[in-house]
Each structure stands twice: as structure tokens, then as C-alpha cells.
């Protein structure tokens, strides 16, 4: 008994101290394949892994350097996220993408101290778009405030340019993630004259009866929805149950995947959601993915998620990260880049339509160019609508630009508060 214990302990110590070789480019994937948010976490992690596998198999990595993607399970839990960050940063991590706003808030001070870039596409701290304050954080192509503004702009279009006297309810995950859009929506409510009611749902959000009762009582004209994981499908089901008109129910990009609407069946027909990237398996890149990854048996996870909304978004993050690394290699003049050089790559990154077409992803995302002060990108998003009969999301608008007149002062204000709290001097002047 005692002997086995000693052996176990020895094995454990060996396991904890063993570190992989530092030769390759290391992009850790802090994923969550367990817990109440796994429905979103699994396809995202698969898309992320598969794209890097494709680069390794087809091109031999980026600039001739193989990419290693060590995965670490966070279960969307901040404590485990911290553990994952600490355990992977010693391997020479070049960039982090935790897919959790809570973990992002934890990591912002840490990556700043450790000088590792943090890339949070479409989530995280919105005011990190201000590169003058947040040197190490990037959140292009779009953030939550962009999303809130795009949704309101779309509603303005629907209502002939005026939302005067309309009632809009925001149904949100009661966490940093769900609370992000509130300030923007309050400003927009002032500007456009609609009334905003806020309905928080506690995590993980399986229980939403009282919130939907309130929706029934208040009869808002539109419901905006900031949900994630198991909460999404519950909300769509509840909306269908109270016969809320689905085309007046708009989710953020994290609340618009197949997993969220399929359980509600026909009831979900007409549900709308934002998206900042194209979806579906029609892009030429999928031919390569099939040839080099899926058919070779190197796909990540169960391999059933390819082409789905969240998978596409995970792949999009991988595309941007690989392009930033490529840019960094170009600037540094060496394929063996370090985290600080990758940061420079992120800051100098320009994604054009032509480049996306070269990558086999024509029209997949919006073109943008980052700069020292702008870490937030263009911020546009499209609206997609669910067709329950065809079991398909279809895009019903092109990219809608957010209202920069409202957002820019808010970003400046919030990042100034962060700068003051942490004694950060503005850069780029």
C-alpha cells in the first residue's frame, strides 16, 4: 500500500514537472468540453484545433514552424482558467484565447505583467479595443458593445428609423459577460428613446421561468439576449412556450448556434442572432480540411461539428491568430517568434478580402486593419435567422456598422478608468 502511494507520488511529481520541448510555436487552447457551457466550448475548441492541424499538415506549420496546440480544460471556471494559464505559459505560449469573459478579466493583468498577447474575438473586456491603454489585449473584429449597437441599428431599420416609445428587454447571463452590453444599451436608449428593461438570469441558466413570466407581463416589442451554453436552448424553448414572436427575439453571436435552436424544434423558427463571421461548410477551406484533417483521422473531438456556427468561429480565431503569427514572422524576419513579437504582429495585422480569398474563406469575415490605438477592428456584424424546416441558419443582412458616435466615448471612458486604477500611461501618442 505504502509502496504504491510512493510510486503514485513520484509519478505525479514527474508528471507535474515534465515540460514539452520549446521548439515549436505554442498556442494553448484553454477550452471547456465539460460543464454547462460545453455545448459551445466543444465545437469552438474543435474548430480552433482543426485549423492549426490543417496548417501543420498542409503547409508544415506557419513559416515552416510547426504549431503546437496544447489543450487545457477550464470548464468555464475562473480558478481552473488560472491554473491552465500558469501551467501552459511556461511552455512558451505565444497567445491566449480563453473563450470566457470571466477568465479574460482574470488574465488581462496577468498577460500584461507576463507580456503575452491575449486575443478575445467577440468577447472579453470591450474597452480593450483601446490599444492606447490595453497594450497586450486584442478583441477585433467585433465586441459586445458593437453587437449591442448593431442589434439596435437593425431594429431601427426594421422600424423605419425610429424606436421612439418601443420597449426592449435585455435578457442576460448574470455575469461579466452578460452585463457588458448594459451600459451601451442604456446610452442607446437615451439616444433613440426606447425603454430598456434588464432581466438577469443566474448562471448556468437552466431556470428561466420567472424571467419569461416577466416578458409575458411587460410585453416588450423586442428581446435582446446575451446567453451562453445550456442557457441558450432553454431560453429559445421558453420563448417558444410563451409564443413570443421569434423574429423579435435577437441573440448575440454566442447565442446563435445550431445547438441552441434544435431542441426547440419548429418553435425556434425565425429566431435571429448576430454573427461576425460566415457559417456553413461551403468555403473552399473545407475541401482542404477534409483532405488533410478529417480523412486523415486527425480531426479534433468527435468531428461532427464542422461547418457549424461555433466551429466556424473557433476556426476564425485560429485564422486570425495564425495570420498574426505570420505577420510577426514577417516583421521579426525569423520564423521563431516570441510572444512580444507576436504582439507586434497582432498590432500590424491587416485582413483584406483578397487575403481571405487566398485562405479559402472568401467573405468569411469583415476586412479590418489594426493599429497601435485600435485593437478593436471594424466592429460590424450580420444578422442570421434560423430556418427550422431546413435546419439552417441563413444570413438576412450584410455587415452592419455599429454606431461609433455612441461607442467611442464609452470605450474611452471605460479604458480611462482602467488606466487610472492601474497607473497606465497612454501609448501611441
Amino acid at each position: 500500500m505504502k509502496k504504491t502511494f510512493t510510486m503514485l507520488a513520484a509519478a505525479a511529481i514527474a508528471a507535474t514537472t515534465a515540460a514539452p520541448a520549446l521548439a515549436d510555436l505554442v498556442v494553448p487552447n484553454l477550452s471547456y468540453r465539460t460543464g454547462p457551457f460545453a455545448a459551445g466550448g466543444i465545437p469552438y475548441a474543435d474548430g480552433f484545433n482543426d485549423y492549426f492541424t490543417l496548417l501543420n499538415e498542409r503547409d508544415g506549420g506557419i513559416g515552416g514552424e510547426k504549431v503546437q496546440v496544447p489543450e487545457c480544460e477550464t470548464a468555464y471556471n475562473t480558478e481552473k482558467g488560472v491554473e491552465c494559464y500558469e501551467s501552459t505559459k511556461g511552455q512558451g505560449a505565444l497567445v491566449y484565447n480563453p473563450l470566457s469573459t470571466g477568465i479574460t478579466y482574470q488574465l488581462i493583468p496577468k498577460v500584461t505583467a507576463d507580456k503575452i498577447p491575449l486575443y478575445t474575438p467577440g468577447y472579453g473586456r470591450t474597452s480593450a479595443a483601446n490599444g492606447k491603454v490595453f497594450e497586450w489585449v486584442f478583441n477585433y473584429p467585433a465586441n459586445y458593445w458593437d453587437g449591442a449597437s448593431v442589434a439596435i441599428k437593425y431594429l431601427l431599420d426594421e422600424n423605419g428609423g425610429s424606436l421612439e416609445g418601443k420597449k426592449i428587454a435585455l435578457l442576460y447571463h448574470n455575469s461579466a459577460y452578460g452585463k457588458e452590453p448594459i451600459r451601451t444599451l442604456q446610452e442607446l436608449a437615451k439616444k433613440h428613446g426606447f425603454t430598456l428593461s434588464e432581466l438577469p438570469i443566474d448562471s448556468p441558466g437552466q431556470e428561466q421561468k420567472s424571467q419569461w413570466l416577466q416578458v409575458r407581463r411587460d410585453k416588450p416589442d423586442y428581446v435582446l439576449f446575451w446567453g451562453w451554453g445550456v442557457m441558450n436552448s432553454v431560453a429559445v424553448q421558453e420563448a417558444a412556450n410563451i409564443r413570443f414572436p421569434m423574429d423579435k427575439f435577437i441573440g448575440i453571436w454566442w447565442s446563435g448556434s445550431e445547438n441552441d435552436v434544435l431542441p426547440a424544434g419548429d418553435g425556434a423558427n425565425g429566431y435571429k442572432a448576430l454573427t461576425f463571421n460566415g457559417v456553413g461548410g461551403d468555403y473552399p477551406v473545407y475541401a482542404d480540411l477534409k483532405k488533410y484533417v478529417f480523412d486523415a483521422g486527425k480531426g479534433s473531438g468527435a468531428g461532427d461539428a464542422a461547418g457549424s456556427v461555433i466551429y466556424s468561429r473557433g476556426m476564425y480565431a485560429a485564422v486570425i491568430i495564425s495570420e498574426a503569427i505570420r505577420k510577426a514572422q514577417e516583421i521579426a524576419g525569423t520564423p521563431k517568434v516570441n510572444a512580444a513579437q507576436v504582439r507586434d504582429g497582432f498590432e500590424a495585422l491587416e485582413i483584406t478580402d483578397a487575403r481571405l480569398e487566398e485562405l479559402g474563406l472568401k467573405g468569411f469575415g469583415q476586412p479590418f486593419a489594426a493599429s497601435c490605438g485600435d485593437h478593436g477592428g471594424a466592429g460590424g456584424a450580420m444578422i442570421q435567422q434560423w430556418d427550422a424546416a431546413a435546419k439552417k441558419w441563413s444570413l438576412i443582412t450584410g455587415f452592419i456598422e455599429p454606431d461609433h458616435d455612441v461607442l467611442d466615448p464609452l470605450v474611452a471612458e471605460d479604458s480611462a478608468a482602467f488606466a487610472a486604477e492601474n497607473n497606465i500611461a497612454e501609448r501611441c501618442n
Partner: protein, 358 residues
């Protein structure tokens, strides 16, 4: 042979009533102190501090706090997460309102604030017992989390409702914030744990602790022999909440650096700490350490073993890890319902007779 009372002569009352009457125990205790304060800080790196030691030390403080209330005084509490949140938010408000205040003072004041809140929620314990009290403290848990989510004053009106610990230094070394060196984090928590564990051990050996145990074992009999239930129960709530508040403050300021009340201090935290106390052993300071170590270190160890050592997929490892930890909890509770502390006690009894058991 080594572990025995024989030959260790006590010539004064002070010697006679010391915490570790056996010389071997005393030596082991000093060895742990030398290891903890003399060696570990010098070999600490970021991973060991942030993933293993700092959470262990903080959970140990919280477990001692809950053990005082539940293990020594017999009052079941499910409000631990909520009280940790009080400590964290009190610490945050103090840190931001008085930037000049030294960090240890912040943490102690946060503990005192929590003690006050704990006494307030302890008042029902004078009338209700057992499961009913558990439900009342559960109400405290939900109320406190709701409160910190609802009232923006507590999180200084930040857009996301997150609280973030600004950098504070102690004697020129950062102890909170991102640039804190690993050893400083570790040492800051270790000093608190040492002082609090020492205090708890001595409190529970003295009059106060005996009153708590009298109330735990039979409150009516205790009252008849002159133990005042009001002051006894409320003092247990106060001391326990003081500990838990300090744990919450350290958890937020030193360990996480940023926190969100529902996620960091939810009901799961209350259960986790209650499990630590039950698995470690009710009514034992050592048990609090053992329980915290078991529930903090085992998942990290299993993860490193399964993913790092054997190369399993992360999701499979995460599921297996839950199953192993759950199974071990059940096994321990069946084999030793009094927790790891009882195993330790039995081991010591055996060691006394070793190598000549009868």
C-alpha cells in the same frame, strides 16, 4: 519507538498543557514550519504558487473557519461562499477607498466586517437548529450573492460587475496585482494561515472552545451548567466568519486578482468547503488542512497525471477526475466517517506501539 510519551518529562504546567506533548510531534511541527517558511518560499514558482499552494492555504483558512462553527460548535452552515464574498468585497472597497492602507490591515478589517455580518446571520441560530439553521444560512448565501450583484456601489459601478484588485505593496514588495512574485503571494497567505491556525488551536483548547463543544454536544445540558448559549453561539459565528472573511479577501485579492460574485462565491463554494471539513474531520484543526489539501490538490494532481502524464484527451480526463474524486470521497466516508483526521489519530495510536504491538 520514537513516537511515545515515555522519557519526555514535563516539569511545569506550561509544558504539561502544550499543544504537542510528544517530542516527535513537536519536531515534526517545527520541521513543517521550517519547510513552509524557510525553504518553500525560495523554490516557489508561478505554477506551484497559483495552482497549488495559494489555493490550498486559502481554502485551509476557510475550512478552519467553518470547522470552528460546524465542527466545534455544531452549527451547520451553508453560507460559507456568501461570507467569503463579504470578505472579498469588504477588502475591495477598503483597497479602493483607502489606497494608502497596508494590505494586512485591509485583510484583517475585511475579516472583522465579515464577523459582523456573520453574527447578524447567526442570530437565528439561537432559535433554530440543525437542518433549519442550514436553510437559514443558505438564505444568507443567496441573499449576499444577490446583494453584491445588484448594488453597483459594491463593485464601484464597473461596467461588468467584476471587482479587480489593484496593486498593493507591503514593505516594497507587491502582494496583490499581476506583478506579485510567487513567493510573496505564498508567504503572505502562509503567514495568515499560520497565525490563524495557531489562534484557532489555542481558542479551541481553552474556555471558549470548551463552551463551543459543550453547546455542540448537548445545548440544554450546557446551558444548565452555566454556558450562555447566546454569547457562545454568536462568538462561534463571529470567529468563524472572521476566518472565512479573511479567506475570501485573500481569495479575491491575492489568488484570483479579479472576481465575480456568482462564479467565485456561489453555492458550490459553500459545499466545497463543507466537504473539506467533513472529509478532513469535524472538530479538528489538522482535519481542516487535510480536507483542503485533499480537495484542492487531488484534482490538480489527477489532471497532471491523466493529461500531462498519460496524454488523455482533456474532456475524458476531466470527467474521470470528477468520478475519481467523487468515488474517493465516498470510500473515505465509508471507511472512516470521522474523516482524514481520524485516520491520522489511528495512525498515531499505532505508531505509539510500533514496533511492538501487542
Amino acid at each position: 519507538m520514537f513516537y511515545r510519551e515515555a522519557g519526555d518529562f514535563k516539569t511545569s504546567y506550561v509544558d504539561d498543557s502544550q499543544t504537542f506533548p510528544i517530542r516527535f510531534d513537536r519536531m515534526r511541527y517545527y520541521a513543517v514550519l521550517v519547510l513552509g517558511f524557510g525553504i518553500l518560499p525560495f523554490v516557489m514558482n508561478d505554477y506551484w504558487a497559483n495552482a497549488v499552494f495559494v489555493p490550498f492555504l486559502i481554502y485551509a483558512i476557510a475550512a478552519i473557519g467553518l470547522n470552528i462553527l460546524t465542527g466545534y460548535c455544531g452549527q451547520v452552515s451553508l453560507g460559507t461562499g456568501g461570507f467569503m464574498a463579504v470578505g472579498a468585497y469588504a477588502c475591495y472597497k477598503l483597497m479602493t477607498a483607502f489606497p494608502w492602507m497596508p494590505m494586512p490591515v485591509n485583510v484583517l478589517l475585511a475579516g472583522l466586517v465579515t464577523a459582523g455580518v456573520g453574527v447578524l446571520f447567526g442570530l437565528p441560530s439561537l432559535r433554530i437548529k440543525g437542518f433549519y439553521l442550514a436553510v437559514a444560512t443558505l438564505a444568507a448565501q443567496f441573499f449576499l450573492v444577490w446583494l453584491f450583484n445588484k448594488v453597483p456601489w459594491f463593485y464601484n459601478y464597473s461596467a461588468s460587475g467584476q471587482i479587480t484588485a489593484p496593486e498593493r505593496t507591503l514593505l516594497g514588495v507587491a502582494v496583490t496585482g499581476a506583478s506579485t512574485p510567487a513567493w510573496a503571494k505564498y508567504l503572505f497567505c502562509a503567514v495568515f494561515l499560520f497565525a490563524l491556525a495557531w489562534l484557532a488551536r489555542n481558542l479551541t483548547r481553552g474556555t471558549v472552545g470548551r463552551k463551543w463543544m459543550a453547546i455542540r454536544d448537548m445545548d440544554i445540558a450546557a446551558e444548565i451548567i452555566g454556558v450562555n448559549p447566546l454569547t457562545t453561539k454568536l462568538s462561534a459565528f463571529a470567529v468563524s466568519s472572521f476566518y472565512i472573511g479573511i479567506a475570501g479577501a485573500l481569495f479575491f485579492a491575492v489568488y484570483l486578482g479579479a472576481a465575480e460574485v456568482g462564479e467565485a462565491f456561489g453555492i458550490q463554494k459553500s459545499f466545497l468547503i463543507l466537504f473539506m471539513v467533513i472529509i478532513g474531520g469535524l472538530g479538528s484543526i489538522f482535519g481542516s488542512f487535510a480536507g483542503a489539501a485533499f480537495l484542492v490538490l487531488l484534482p490538480v494532481l489527477l489532471k497532471n497525471l491523466l493529461v500531462g502524464g498519460l496524454g488523455w484527451p482533456t474532456d475524458l480526463a476531466a470527467h474521470i477526475e470528477l468520478m475519481i474524486v467523487g468515488a474517493l470521497i465516498i470510500v473515505f466516508l465509508i471507511l472512516e466517517p470521522h474523516g482524514l483526521a481520524q485516520l491520522w489519530r489511528v495512525a498515531k495510536e499505532k505508531l505509539r506501539l510500533w514496533p511492538f504491538p501487542h
